[in-house]
Structures are given as structure tokens and as C-alpha cells.
């Protein structure tokens, strides 16, 4: 039931304090003509029933604190409790961005130091902390590229190359930044093929803006030809954008700057341990090298301008700051090492029972395919995902990247113990056995959840998106 169905007229969950000044007639202040005639039909709930309602809803959720959450490209690592506490210090929560700087010294110092640390991690010249999420960071970075070319008198450059394995936000952000998208097919090894890329760059000719790349890519493979790739793009007058969604694989090993990228975003809610909150809020700071730094939001006359109100998702920035300070350079490198180790160990355990189309080594994540399984038993990647739910695990990302049929994109992260990895591997292997022996049972999974499989088609056909 929703809170609207539990509502009962006259119930109150919170009573504001009495007015301690002489109360003027409302109409005289806000204008009679502006007064609301019918109050909004909000729920009428007691406090205890509100508490029980949302506590019950929370129990129907699965989070990192509930169990293993190997959702590929989402880096569902542990969200340290200390960071939650420190981001909620009253001195942070009550600071106001429009107060004079001398009233915000602590916040400003934290942000300046975070910018500096992100530059050190990423090999960038400057960071803007404004963007509110990964996709917002992409859009911001791409706008910086467009502004750079406009300044160079090359506004005609509007073609951006994006591998077909890229996150959906990449092409969507490019379109929103005013670019025309050309997909670059991945090579047979799952990587950007330099020859194909060179052809695509030549085809774009003088209209080339550049390339958006995730490295390691969404197949969990490091683009080992990255230096050549960067050379091709730069040689054609283009720029390189780094999608930082997968940075968790390479901290302290390489950096976007060292790989030749000109501009990038980070997902502080992935790599830097801020929680996802069921779909945000996140933070997607944008870093730029020397060439594009002047175009970042909040900069000087070349700046693209503001991309949101105020200075950024400050509470998320605090969490990321805490994470980096707690780990230091050695801890971040160790996190990446363990993330890659855990992924390789799992891949090793699972390849065989599932197809591993790109070999037996990976970075922080890997993609399995249930295509052969589906062919032989009728059990799909979706069935495996739902079967995992019944075994107490959050499933991997399914059906993405789309270049792998029946894909299961798995990212264990570094914050999981060997026992957890083993338990997950055992569950995956037993599901592969179930697929052969009892496929019907898997088609009807999950059976242990508050609801079974839901009819998404019906939901989209006749959308009901609010309570009646």
C-alpha cells in the first residue's frame, strides 16, 4: 500500500510550533488572489504510522548493507559509516552558499583540497565540483569541448565518436551537448580497434570533435592501445573524453591524464564510496587538462558558465573527501588492486559454466554471456538474475553492454570477502546446473521476494504514475 491509501482524514504526523509574533491575515501578505483554494491532497498520517510505513518499505529494498551487490559499472562498494556521520556534522548542514566566504571557510577549504586531490589522482589540471551526477559531468565536459572549438573558430566540429560498448549516457550527453554521434564498433577482442578508429576519424574529417572512452571499458577490458588511440584522435585535431565510471580499476596504476585524456568526469558515488541512495544524489566532478581547464564551470571569461545552482552536491563531496583522506595514495591503489583481484578470481570460477567471450582476464569487472545456456536450456540472463535474488544476492547488470547477447556484467568491488565471493560463485554455478535440470523453476524466480516478476509491458502501455 502507498502512503495515500493509508491516509486518514484529520491525522497529524508533525505539528509546527505556534506563531510567536502577531499573525497578520495571510491574504494581506501573499495576496488574496494568490491563495490556494483547495489544499493539496497530501497524505494525513500519524508519526508512528509514517515511521512504520517507510521502515516497511526499506525492508523491501536491497542495498550494499543488505548483501553482495555486483552490479557492473556501478561500483557498489561499501559506503563507510563514518562518512555518513561526518557529512551530517551540523557545521556542514547549516552552511549556506550565499553567506560571505568568511562564514564558510571550512566548506571552502574542503572543496579546494578535494579539487587538488582529484587532480592528483586523475592527472588533471583543474576540477569543477559543480556537476550533480555522472551524466551531468559528461554533459559538462562535452560542453567544454564544444566551447573550446568555438573559441578556436572551429564550431563546425560536431561529430563525436563513441564505442558501441559505451554507457547509454555517453551518446545521450553528446546529443544534449549539440553533437552528432557516430558509434565505433568494438573489435573482436572487445577493444577499440585503432584501424577502425582511424577510419572513423578520417570519415568525420574536419568535423571531428573527438572520442568518448571508458577505460577499462564496460567489458572490463583495459584499452591497451590507449596511447595509439589518443594519438589518432589528437592527430586528427580531436579531443579525448574519459568516462570515469570505471576508475575503480586503475587508481594509482594509471590516470586519465597519463593516458592522454583532455577532459573527464568522476562518479564520486561509485569510485569514492558515496552511497547511491536508490538512484542519487551523486556527484560528477569534471576534470580538465591544460587545454580545457579555462572552459570549466566557475572559471573565467572562457568558462561555459554554470551547469546547476550553487557549488555542487556538497554532502557527497564531503563523503568523497573522507574516503580519499582515509585511504591515501597507498589505500586507493590497494582498493584498485583488490577490485581487480576479486573480479579476476570470480571470472576464473565462473567461466566454463558461463561463456566468457573476452577471455579469462579482466580488470575490475567482467561480462559473461548466458547466450549458449539460453540456446540449450531456455534459461536467459534475466532468469539467472532472478534466480540470484532468491539466493540472497543482487544480480549483476543484465543486458548491458548490448554487444554481448544475454550479458551478465559483474563487478564485485574490493570490499567483499573471499567467503562472499565464493558464496556468489557457488550460487552462480548451482544456477547453471538448475538451468539444465529444472529450467521451469528459474523462469518463475524470484519466489522469495515481496512481489514476483512484474509486468513492465503493461506498466508502459497504460501508465499509472501517481496514486488515484
Amino acid at each position: 500500500m502507498t502512503v495515500y491509501e493509508k491516509s486518514a482524514a484529520g491525522r497529524r504526523g508533525f505539528i509546527p510550533e505556534p506563531c510567536d509574533v502577531p499573525a497578520a491575515a495571510l491574504g494581506a501578505i501573499v495576496g488574496e488572489e494568490n491563495l490556494r483554494k483547495t489544499p493539496a491532497a497530501l497524505p494525513e498520517m500519524s508519526e508512528i504510522d509514517t515511521v512504520r510505513h517507510y521502515t516497511a518499505l526499506a525492508k523491501k529494498n536491497f542495498g550494499v548493507d543488505t548483501g553482495f551487490y555486483p552490479l557492473g559499472s556501478c561500483t557498489m562498494k561499501y559506503n563507510p559509516k563514518i562518512n555518513e556521520q561526518l557529512a551530517s556534522l551540523p557545521g556542514f548542514l547549516s552552511a549556506h552558499p550565499f553567506a560571505p566566504d568568511e562564514m564558510n571557510r571550512g566548506c571552502l577549504r574542503l572543496m579546494a583540497e578535494l579539487e587538488r586531490m582529484l587532480c592528483a589522482i586523475c592527472g588533471m589540471e583543474a576540477f569543477s565540483l559543480q556537476p550533480a551526477a555522472g551524466a551531468h559531468g559528461e554533459l559538462t565536459g562535452l560542453m567544454c569541448m564544444a566551447a573550446y572549438f568555438a573559441k578556436q573558430g572551429q564550431s563546425h566540429r560536431n561529430v563525436i565518436l563513441i564505442p558501441d560498448s559505451a554507457h547509454g549516457t555517453n551518446p545521450a550527453s553528446a546529443a544534449q551537448a549539440g553533437f552528432s554521434v557516430r558509434a565505433v564498433p568494438s573489435g573482436r577482442d572487445g577493444l577499440v580497434d585503432p584501424a577502425t578508429l582511424r577510419e572513423a576519424a578520417e570519415a568525420a574529417g574536419g568535423a571531428l570533435v573527438g572520442l568518448m572512452l571508458t577505460n577499462p571499458n564496460t567489458l572490463g577490458l583495459f584499452e591497451k592501445n590507449i596511447m595509439e588511440v589518443a594519438g589518432i584522435i589528437h592527430g586528427a585535431g580531436g579531443l579525448l573524453y574519459y568516462d570515469g565510471a570505471n576508475l575503480n580499476a586503475v587508481m594509482g596504476v594509471t590516470s586519465p591524464g597519463a593516458m592522454g585524456f583532455d577532459v573527464m568526469h568522476l562518479n564520486l558515488h561509485k569510485t569514492f564510496s558515496a552511497p547511491h541512495g536508490g538512484g542519487g544524489p551523486g556527484a560528477g566532478p569534471v576534470g580538465a587538462g591544460k587545454l580545457l581547464a579555462p572552459f570549466l564551470p566557475g572559471g573565467g571569461q572562457d568558462s561555459i558558465g554554470r551547469v546547476r545552482a550553487y557549488r555542487g552536491s556538497f554532502g557527497v563531496l564531503v563523503r568523497a573527501y573522507c574516503y580519499i583522506r582515509a585511504l591515501g595514495a597507498s589505500g586507493l591503489r590497494e582498493a584498485s588492486e583488490s577490485a581487480v583481484l576479486n573480479a579476476n578470481w570470480l571470472l576464473n570460477r565462473l567461466s566454463g559454466a558461463y561463456d566468457a567471450p573476452y577471455g579469462e582476464r579482466c580488470m575490475h569487472e567482467f561480462v559473461l554471456s548466458a547466450a549458449a545456456m539460453k540456446e540449450q536450456t531456455g534459461v536467459s540472463a534475466m532468469d539467472i538474475a532472478k534466480g540470484l535474488i532468491d539466493k540472497g544476492f543482487h544480480p549483476p547488470t543484465v543486458y548491458f553492454p548490448t554487444i554481448v547477447p544475454e550479458s551478465l556484467m559483474t563487478e564485485p568491488t574490493e570490499t567483499e570477502s573471499p567467503e562472499t565471493l565464493e558464496a556468489f560463485a557457488a550460487a552462480m554455478l548451482s544456477l547453471a546446473e538448475d538451468a539444465k535440470r529444472n529450467p521451469e523453476a528459474l523462469h518463475s524466480a524470484p519466489v522469495t521476494t515481496p512481489v514476483g516478476r512484474l509486468d513492465a509491458t503493461a506498466a508502459a502501455r497504460q501508465p499509472i504514475i501517481k496514486s488515484r
Binding site: L42, A99, I304, Y310, C322
Partner: protein, 425 residues
């Protein structure tokens, strides 16, 4: 110190050994030497107690203003909001891709959408946006797509950060933005009809706290075929007429006043609601009601996904993926606790306390800049410490929430009086 890695060093070595490796370095064999880096230049790692000490010192080096608003307001947050929105199953979940284990988040999104529709008087709301400025920008893009027009009008007294964000988004989408100036009362002057405009974006209460003649603005826009877009503080809608009722096709706003702390400007949630005709142009996540396959229990899923980036890629209605679910949850819980009566009372308290302080200041000779109706904030002709500074026109912007006491307002008045005297001498 440490990396939140549960496996002991020897356990990690064992895992490595199982892969036939002797050193972690071998894991990175695919990374070419040309792009390897040395040690990152970061400060040394801190233990949890050291980290707490450092952050407490940083937090203590800030000071909270009492009368600064300008878009972010210091409202009381009921204890239950914090308690419920800190539940780890809400905090540590991802976007609800697997509905069977995400009914908590999905139900809450559905409730948020319902609350926003009811507050705004519109038909369809999404799961949330980053903030009001980006929500307004998406509304601008929706309007341009719908009308195939390239020009956008925003009322000049709209929050400057919203206007700046609109200009950034407009520039890269081939749109131009112009401003409808405000008159001597601080309200939009509706002289030349907005012919050829994709939309007219108007904030009310506006940046100066003044309530705009919203019915007139929506008629002005609609008359020229422009989409009327309202930017409305959802808390004000406890007492003010809804944008839907006043003829607006799209409404956006900032949910911070509904149960989120100011937190130096974020994170908060934006909302975006529209008439039914815009349903398939809405950006981002939308939760919808459905049933189990083949009938059975009711449940909620992410719906109308054919609009979204993970399906449509460059043809999506927007690039938004992560939004502000947890901040939207705070708004949802806040509204459930307050209910219609609590929201009305809170909004009324803001207006009444603002009226009290405005009159007190006026008694000392500090004059309001505008005489139009207002809600919780007003501009005065004097630059005052403890209020937001205004440059054009010069003065101060003073916000009064229901949290401000008579004693605080009287002290502020006394301080203002001393500053005013200081200026005139």
C-alpha cells in the same frame, strides 16, 4: 587507514596464487608502461579518529546565517525524516533496476510523483531532477522540442543561478534566451507578446521573494503559443495557488525546503511536473504501477523507459541517469508527516514571520524595495550584515522561515538599525 577491504593480506595472496600470480602487479599486465604513473601526491592516510577530528574542525569553521535564503531555506526538519531517510536499505541501494528487490524505493518514487502532481496541480511528474536549475533547463529543452522554436524567455527576477544554467544549456542546444524585465513592484513586465518563444519561464515567488502575477504570465505565454513554465517552491504551495490551476503546462522547482538541510547548496532534489501531453517528453526515471506477470500482486516498476538514455542512447529525451532519489525521499517523508494541514501551517508561519520582520525593519526606516505581495522573503533598500546582498537593485534579501523566533528577528532589527545609523553618519 586501510581500504575497507575485508580480506586479510594473506587471503589476498592466496586469491592471487589461485590465479597463478605472485604479485598484484600482474593484474595490471594490460596497462602499458607508457601510461603508468608513480605514487599519487595525496596526504597520508588517516585513521577514523583522526579523520573525525579533521572533519569536525572543518565543520566548526563555518557559521550558519539566520536570514539568508535566496533559494535555500533553513526550515525545521522533523526527526523522523532523518531517521527514516538514513535507513541503509534506502541509502545503499542503486537505481531500482531489479523491481522485486526495490519495491521500497519504487513505491517511494511513486509517492513522490503523486505528491508533486498534487502540489503543482499537474498530471505527470518524474522521479526527480538534480535541482531546480537543471529541471528548468530540461523544461526548456522539452518546450523547444515540442514547439520546434529556438527562443526562450525567462522572467528577469528568476533566481540568477537558474538563469545562468538556462543560458549554458541553451547555448549548446542552439537556443537563445532573453529576459522579461521586472517593474517597480518587482514583478514581470508583460509588454510585448512573446511571439516565437518556445516557452516563458517564470519563478514565483521570484528571487526577490515577490509573488508574480502567475495567471497573467501563463496567459501571456499561451497566447503566443509559448509553453508556460513555472518555477515554484513546493513549500509555498501549501498556501499559494498551484501552477496547474494558474494555467502552466510545466512546473519545476527545488525540493530542499521539504526536509533537506541547506548543506552548502547540495545535494538536494529538483522536481519536474507537466501536463499529460508532455508525458513522453519527460526526462529521467518514472515509476509506474503494474501487477505481477500473469496477474497477482500489485507492484511498481521503472516505466516509459523508451524515453531514456540506456535504451534510446543519443535519441533519449535527456541524458539524466542518477537523479536525486534520496533527497526526493526526504521530501516524500516530510510531506507525509506534515500532511496538508502541517504544510499549510508551516507556509503560513513563514509568511507571517516574514511580515513581522518586514514591518519591524520598516519602523526603523529600512524600506522594502518592492510593495507587491511576497511569501517568505523580501528585499530592502539597505545592505545589511547577515542578509544576502543584492546588487541590482542594491540592497539586501532577507529570508524568514518558520524556525526564526521573535527574539532572533528583534535582535536582527536592532543590529540592522545600528548598521543603518552607521551608514548615514
Amino acid at each position: 587507514m586501510g581500504s575497507y577491504i575485508p580480506a586479510a593480506k594473506r587471503e589476498r595472496e592466496k586469491l592471487l596464487g589461485g590465479l597463478g600470480m605472485t604479485s598484484a602487479e600482474e593484474l595490471f599486465a594490460a596497462v602499458p608502461p607508457e601510461c603508468r604513473i608513480g605514487t599519487m601526491n595525496l596526504p597520508p592516510p588517516l585513521s577514523e579518529p583522526e579523520l573525525r577530528r579533521e572533519l569536525e574542525a572543518l565543520a566548526a569553521d563555518n557559521k550558519a546565517p539566520l536570514f539568508i535564503g535566496a533559494g535555500l531555506y533553513d526550515h525545521y526538519i522533523p526527526a523522523a525524516v532523518d531517521a527514516l531517510c538514513s535507513l541503509p536499505e534506502f541509502v545503499t541501494a542503486y537505481t531500482p533496476y531489479q523491481p522485486e528487490i526495490s519495491q521500497g524505493t519504487l513505491t517511494a518514487i511513486f509517492e513522490f510523483q503523486t505528491a508533486i502532481c498534487r502540489l503543482t496541480g499537474l498530471d505527470a511528474a518524474n522521479a526527480s531532477m538534480y535541482d531546480a536549475a537543471t529541471a528548468a533547463s530540461e523544461a526548456m529543452l522539452m518546450s523547444a522540442a515540442q514547439t520546434k522554436r529556438k527562443h526562450v524567455i525567462v522572467t528577469a527576477a528568476t533566481h540568477p543561478h537558474i538563469k545562468e544554467t538556462l543560458r549554458t544549456y541553451a547555448r549548446f542546444n542552439g537556443l537563445t534566451v532573453s529576459e522579461a524585465p521586472f517593474d517597480g513592484r518587482g514583478q514581470a513586465a508583460l509588454d510585448t507578446a512573446p511571439h516565437g518563444a518556445a516557452c516563458v519561464i517564470a519563478q514565483s515567488p521570484n528571487f526577490f521573494g515577490v509573488i508574480e502575477p502567475m495567471r497573467g504570465i501563463s496567459a501571456w505565454a499561451s497566447g503566443a503559443g509559448a509553453v508556460p513554465v513555472a518555477v515554484c517552491d513546493p513549500l509555498s504551495l501549501g498556501i499559494l495557488e498551484s501552477p496547474g490551476e494558474m494555467g502552466f503546462a510545466i512546473a519545476v522547482g527545488e525540493c530542499q525546503p521539504l526536509g533537506s538541510p541547506v548543506s552548502f547548496g547540495g545535494p538536494h532534489a529538483g522536481y519536474l511536473a507537466a501536463k499529460e501531453s508532455f508525458l513522453r517528453r519527460l526526462p529521467g526515471r518514472i515509476a509506474g504501477e503494474t501487477g505481477e506477470v500473469g496477474g497477482g500482486k500489485r507492484g511498481f516498476v521503472l516505466t516509459l523507459q523508451a524515453r531514456e538514455q540506456h535504451i534510446r542512447r543519443e535519441k533519449a529525451t535527456s541524458n539524466i541517469c542518477s537523479n536525486a532519489a534520496l533527497s526526493a525521499l526526504r521530501a516524500t517523508v516530510y510531506l507525509a508527516l506534515l500532511g496538508p494541514e502541517g504544510l499549510r501551517e508551516t507556509a503560513a508561519l513563514c509568511a507571517q514571520k516574514a511580515a513581522y520582520l518586514r514591518a519591524k525593519l520598516q519602523e526603523t526606516g529600512i524600506k522594502p524595495l518592492f510593495d507587491a505581495s511576497y511569501f517568505r522573503e523580501f528585499a530592502v533598500d539597505t545592505v545589511l550584515d547577515g542578509a544576502a546582498a543584492l546588487e541590482n537593485p542594491r540592497g539586501s534579501l532577507i529570508a524568514v522561515t518558520e524556525k526564526r523566533t521573535k527574539a532572533e528577528m528583534d535582535a536582527f532589527t536592532a543590529l540592522a538599525l545600528s548598521q543603518k545609523k552607521g551608514v548615514s553618519i
